[in-house]
Amino acid sequence: MFVARSIAADHKDLIHDVSYDFHGRRMATCSSDQSVKVWDKSENGEWHCTASWKTHSGSVWRVTWAHPEFGQVLASCSFDRTAAVWEEIVGESNDKQRGLSHWIKRTTLVDSRTSVTDVKFAPKHMGLMLTTCSADGVVRIYEAPDVMNLSQWSLQHEISCKLSCSCISWNPSSSRAHPPMFAVGSDDSNVTYGGKVQIYEYNENTRKYAKAETLMTVTDAVHDIAFAPNLGRSFHVLAIATKDVRIFKLVPMRKESTSAGPTKFEVQIVAQFDNHNSQVWRVSWNITSTLLASSGDDGCVRLWKANYMDNWKCTGILKGDGSPLTSSSGQPTAMSTVVGSSVQTSQNALNGMSAGRYFFPPLDPPRAGTMYGHLLPPSSLIEHCDAEPIQPQQQALPRRHSSRALLPLPEAEGQ
């Protein structure tokens, strides 16, 4: 089960991106306040902001970490038409003891004439490479030929996608059987322009990236795109945030070694969910690509998981602002009638046992005397996804108090 807790982010405007480093011990956030913050996780699991600095002269859309073998390196991109590479250095004073670190700008990539909407490092086995995409529809691939000198980046490829780009994702597979590949999504909302997700693959012979596939079925604006960690699988999985959550499977067709040209893929749609009932904003895979998290304009974070039959299913809903998520049916009268019903309780226990629900086992009320009673999460943050009548146990919890106490109200802040 998952428990959410709030962290005082102290950004002065909207946070646009969160990014973990390879080990999950560091985190970077970026915001419309034009700054990037770096957070370190202490031994007791608390996050501490160890650096915060102004990075751009516009909203910072995305921030991303390089693999730690290249050092502590971040890249950010902004509305100010630039992307920047940052490296942590050892400060002049003993800031490290005070829990602060210094980041210096190694380079500014100024090739774009429009807002740079996404920035991603290529998988580590390709070396230190950085990709940007911009609102004018150009994907740029930079390489640092000398990993010791991060101030030198050469523009290796410039790929025009013809459509305003909003997001980019590298295929993380390190298998030699899979040539370097990335997918780029467009937030152009004109459905007549055709597929909004394009997949490019590196061709060893021409030393260029060529379009391998366009997902023609995705015609609405795409806000985020994410290749799943490959983990030795023979196919690639791509999650797309558009007007719904979509999961595509790209199965490379076995091709003769002689044939040049891009790999052909068999594109299968594995899942399509409109549960957000609105535009889906972000998608993210866990490390084994067995769990997908998505966020939508409904203000909810949803978790998806596949069962052994490759059937994807919602396994949890968490409300984005931490406020209690009540049943969508919203029947206050129904709730009071089932309180104390033992039949209902046993039903829930059964439901919890069923497959695909393991994330959020039925929340029994903290019984007096049980030692784990106080450890229960604010149940309000978590709900079984099927729209059942609200479980009576949850009602028994003083949930409004517990959850509110955790989360400062947004109004409390100055504009």
């Binding site: 946070i15 999950g24 985190m27 509305f79 050892v90 003993n94 030795g232 023979s234 490759d310 049943s327």
Partner: protein, 883 residues
């Protein structure tokens, strides 16, 4: 507003009150839904948490066209209503009829010529001023500014007017006909708003232009010709920014550069009905089109760019759908962030709705989810508390982490135990590790008794799985055995060959030896309380009596199933007569048996010899048992066909039980591939395939890929010790994976390697050993270069040459292996290591350096400001698996 089309106004001072106006005015109070236990009549649910209560209704003013709420605290609930005939009436809602209010309520402001009143706007500072925008009437003025404190002035009213008025109004003292200002002659006014930067300025959307009137000089006006003249509204956060619209197009104006709109928002197919700035966030504009159920939001990011001076704001466009039905109107909550109330076009259905900030999210490598919503961060971690359900259905990432910590895969002696290390609740893993166990076990035995003459490399045969073993089967003998414990001759043929008995051994049914003896296996099964399976195995060995005995035992055992006795009874009635009632009943009723083994027992007894589909295709029976059965009872023609079919089935499904059939061959890799495709469990795949060495499977790029992925996972989890252990394990089984030496240190003077034990220079090594101080012949100290005899660098702290032991540590110097190395001792050994900083290349004994950096940040060498200990951030991370 037409009479039917509703509109909403929030009270400027009560964050919980708003007015809906359609044909009448309704004042509502919004509150949490659960605040009162009993659901009051008239409470309307607005959302899951909030509900509205109707406080007051005012239907005194018919033909309402527009409404404006008095901006001051007192009197509250004072509203100006503009009517279809151009009159503006002050009216009130609610109970508070205090003195000031009483004076004002009911006051009417009447224009000279009757025509529709389009818009009303209270001056935000001088709240006595109320501007009204009217339709055109010949050359008359269309913008009238009324002073609500003015008294009725009889001399101003024309006689004909008076007649008209008196017919309606009994108390004519409340009627005002003389406006304070008259503006916009010979024009129509469609929208109005007071400018916040100067309360003397009024912005009006006239017929074909936007005009700014200055009350200090009414003869002049600033104007710009445009079509976008409807719904003018000032951004409350940026007083020079104004929005207006026309048809489906929104224009954003900067009053400082009033010549043309700074921005035109994408045109909508349908005409807009309302445009409103969010009062709680800068640059957020909400728009609504006719007959639509979505509200479009424009987030204006106003940022100067380094290139050029043109500051063109970017727009993040969003659509939200507050409710299913078509929206009549909406209103932002004045203080609650991003909140609005929406009223439907029909039936006055209201919805309380909050526009959520877009959430960005990320998973960490350790399955915790972080998301950012607005300006807040939320860390969502998997709860450590384990319940029964969660153990079964944990995500594979969590499973692999737990298994790595329980040293899963590392038991190389009792290989089958690995499934217990994996948690012991996955039947496929259990089957896999038993398969591997039997493969290794049988392989060992084969190595021992070489008389078992198998063609080719014996390793490859055992490892190549039953599929390949039975293919090579030759010299099969057919035998017809009696039912033991009965003298009846059975007509069931059984097949025997060396390969078949090898297969049976791989299935774990029999152990080494020429006989087919399952007794040991049966006893194990009995111990495991697998009564049904044991009985089935006994029966397949044509030992009905033993089968019955096992079932009896099962029934009488603790917590035994008494039904087993019934089964035993049925079994004892076995007859091989083709048309007996027993046979007929058993073959039909067996399908109702829940236990698959009981089911196949009767399937076996009732089927014709050679036609055992009821047994062979019962998928809930373990593959191992089905294969063993097939090896006993299928002919040389049938057996390979069945095994091939089953293998393909297993491969397709990625079922690890099939490893028994495929062995650790390319087929096995194919099977494992579909298992990995399905589960992502590279851990099992890596460990399993490592068992296949020395063999070709390890060279398969897919296997290498799994191993790399698994190592990468361990690294990401900071299970570095586990990764190192895995590498050691892998190095043992696959010598080709041994890494090369990572570093070699060369002498400053001669450039040769100083490593004493380096096999490349044995002579220097031996020559050097004479200089060694230590008496131990095996472990010499190295204090100078073995090549040129020049002294090695000194420790920056103790100034001793590299290679000298740390003097102040007891237990150092004595490097003989006999000393029991306690943990401290191990560390003391480490203190002797010579270390250096890669940046400044100063160094010393590890122990000395560590104690130096405990108190200092800079390098101990004079004039070196290198912060050696802080250089490597990853080095500061602790492995999360250190015990």
């Amino acid at each position: 507003m037409s009479g039917s089309k509703p509109d909403i106004l929030w009270s400027p001072h009560h964050p919980d009150r708003y007015v809906i106006c359609d044909s009448e005015l309704g004042l509502y109070r919004i509150g949490p839904v659960g605040s009162s236990a009993e659901t009051k009549a008239g409470t309307l649910p607005l959302s899951e948490e909030t509900a509205a209560t109707l406080l007051a209704i005012n239907s005194d003013t018919p033909y309402m066209k527009c409404v404006a709420w008095y901006p001051k605290h007192e009197p509250e609930c004072l509203l100006a209503v503009g009517q279809a005939n151009g009159r503006v009436v002050l009216t009130s809602l609610g109970q508070s009829h205090n003195s000031t209010c009483k004076e004002l309520v009911g006051k009417e402001f009447v224009p000279k010529h009757a025509r529709q009143c389009n818009t009303l706007a209270w001056n935000p500072v001088d709240s006595n001023l109320l501007a009204a925008g009217l339709d055109k009437h010949r050359a008359d003025f269309s913008v009238l500014i009324w002073d609500i404190s003015s008294k009725f002035s009889p001399e101003a009213s024309v006689a004909s007017e008076k007649i008209r008025l008196s017919s309606v109004d009994l108390d004519s003292s409340t009627v005002v006909t003389k406006p304070l200002y008259e503006l916009g002659q010979n024009d129509a006014c469609l929208s109005l708003c007071w400018l916040l930067r100067d309360p003397k300025l009024l912005l009006a959307g006239m017929h074909r232009n936007l005009a700014i009137f200055d009350l200090r000089n009414t003869s002049q006006k600033t104007f710009v010709n445009t079509k976008a003249i409807q719904g003018v509204t000032v951004d409350p956060h940026f007083h020079d920014r104004v929005a207006s619209f026309f048809e489906g197009q929104v224009a954003i104006w900067d009053l400082r550069k009033f010549e043309k709109p700074v921005l035109t928002l994408t045109e909508q197919p349908k005409p807009l009905t309302k445009v409103a700035w969010c009062p709680t966030r800068t640059g957020l504009l909400a728009t609504l089109t006719r007959d639509s159920n979505i509200i479009r939001l424009y987030d204006m990011q106003h940022t100067p760019t380094p290139i050029g001076d043109e500051t063109e704001p970017t727009i993040i466009e969003r659509s939200v759908q507050p409710c299913e039905s078509q929206i009549g109107s909406f209103a932002w909550h004045p203080s609650s962030q991003n909140r609005m109330v929406v009223v439907s076009a029909a039936n006055r259905v209201m919805t309380d709705f909050t526009v959520f900030e877009r959430i960005s999210l990320a998973w960490s490598s350790t399955t915790s989810l972080m998301w950012a919503c607005g300006r807040h961060l939320y860390d969502c971690v998997e709860d450590g508390a384990e319940s029964v359900e969660s153990v079964i259905e944990k995500d594979i990432a969590t499973k692999m982490r737990q298994r790595a910590q329980s040293r899963y895969g590392h038991d190389t002696v009792q290989v089958w135990r690995n499934h217990l290390l994996a948690g012991g609740n996955d039947p496929q893993l259990k089957s896999l590790w038993y398969d591997l166990f039997y493969i290794l076990f049988v392989d060992d035995q084969c190595a021992e008794d070489m008389e078992l003459k198998l063609q080719g490399n014996k390793q490859s045969v055992v490892y190549s799985g039953i599929k390949n073993i039975v293919k090579t089967s030759s010299g099969t003998t057919e035998s017809r055995r009696c039912w033991s414990g009965s003298d009846r001759q059975t007509d069931v043929p059984r097949y025997l060959s060396e390969e078949r008995s090898l297969a049976l051994r791989l299935c774990g049914w029999i152990s080494r030896g020429p006989d087919i003896d399952v007794e040991i296996f049966l006893r194990t099964l009995e111990q495991e309380r697998e009564w049904e399976r044991a009985a089935a195995v006994a029966l397949f060995n044509l030992d009905i009596r033993r089968a019955i005995q096992i079932l009896n035992k099962g029934a009488t055992a603790e917590k035994g199933d008494l039904n087993l006795n019934v089964v035993a009874m049925a079994l004892s009635g076995y007859t091989d007569e083709k048309s007996s009632l027993w046979r007929e009943m058993c073959s039909s009723l067996r399908l109702q048996l829940k236990n698959p083994y009981l089911c196949v027992m009767f399937a076996f007894l009732t089927s014709e010899p050679g036609a055992y589909d009821g047994v062979l295709y019962e998928s809930s029976v373990a593959v191992r048992d089905r294969v063993a059965f097939a090896c006993m009872f299928l002919s040389d023609a049938q057996l390979p066909r069945y095994i091939d079919k089953l293998t393909n089935e297993m491969k397709e499904a990625g079922n690890l039980e099939g490893i028994l059939l495929t062995g650790l061959t390319k087929d096995g890799v194919d099977l494992m591939e579909s298992y990995v495709d399905r589960t992502g469990d590279v851990q099992t795949a890596s460990f399993c395939m490592l068992k296949g060495s020395p063999g070709d499977v390890l060279k398969d790029p897919r296997v290498q890929c799994w191993i790399e992925n698994y190592r990468n996972l361990l690294d990401a989890w900071r299970f570095w010790h586990k990764r190192a252990e895995f590498d050691i394990h892998r190095g043992k089984l696959d010598p080709s994976s041994k890494p090369l030496a990572q570093v070699f240190v060369s002498c400053n003077f001669c450039g040769k390697s100083i490593s004493y034990s380096c096999s490349a220079m044995p002579h220097q090594g031996r020559g050097f050993s004479q200089y060694g101080v230590s008496g131990s012949p095996t472990k010499s100290k190295v204090t100078s270069c073995p090549g040129c005899r020049k002294p090695l660098p000194r420790c920056a702290l103790c100034l001793m040459n590299m290679g000298t032991p740390v003097s102040n540590c007891p237990g150092t110097g004595k490097s003989d292996e006999k000393v029991d190395l306690t943990r401290e001792n191990k560390l003391a050994q480490f203190n002797n290591w010579f270390t250096w900083c890669h940046n400044c290349r100063h160094g010393g004994h590890a122990g000395h350096m560590l104690s130096w950096f405990r108190d200092h940040t800079e390098c101990p060498v004079s004039a070196c400001t290198c912060k050696c200990m802080q250089l490597d951030t990853t080095g500061n991370l602790v492995p999360s698996d250190s015990s």
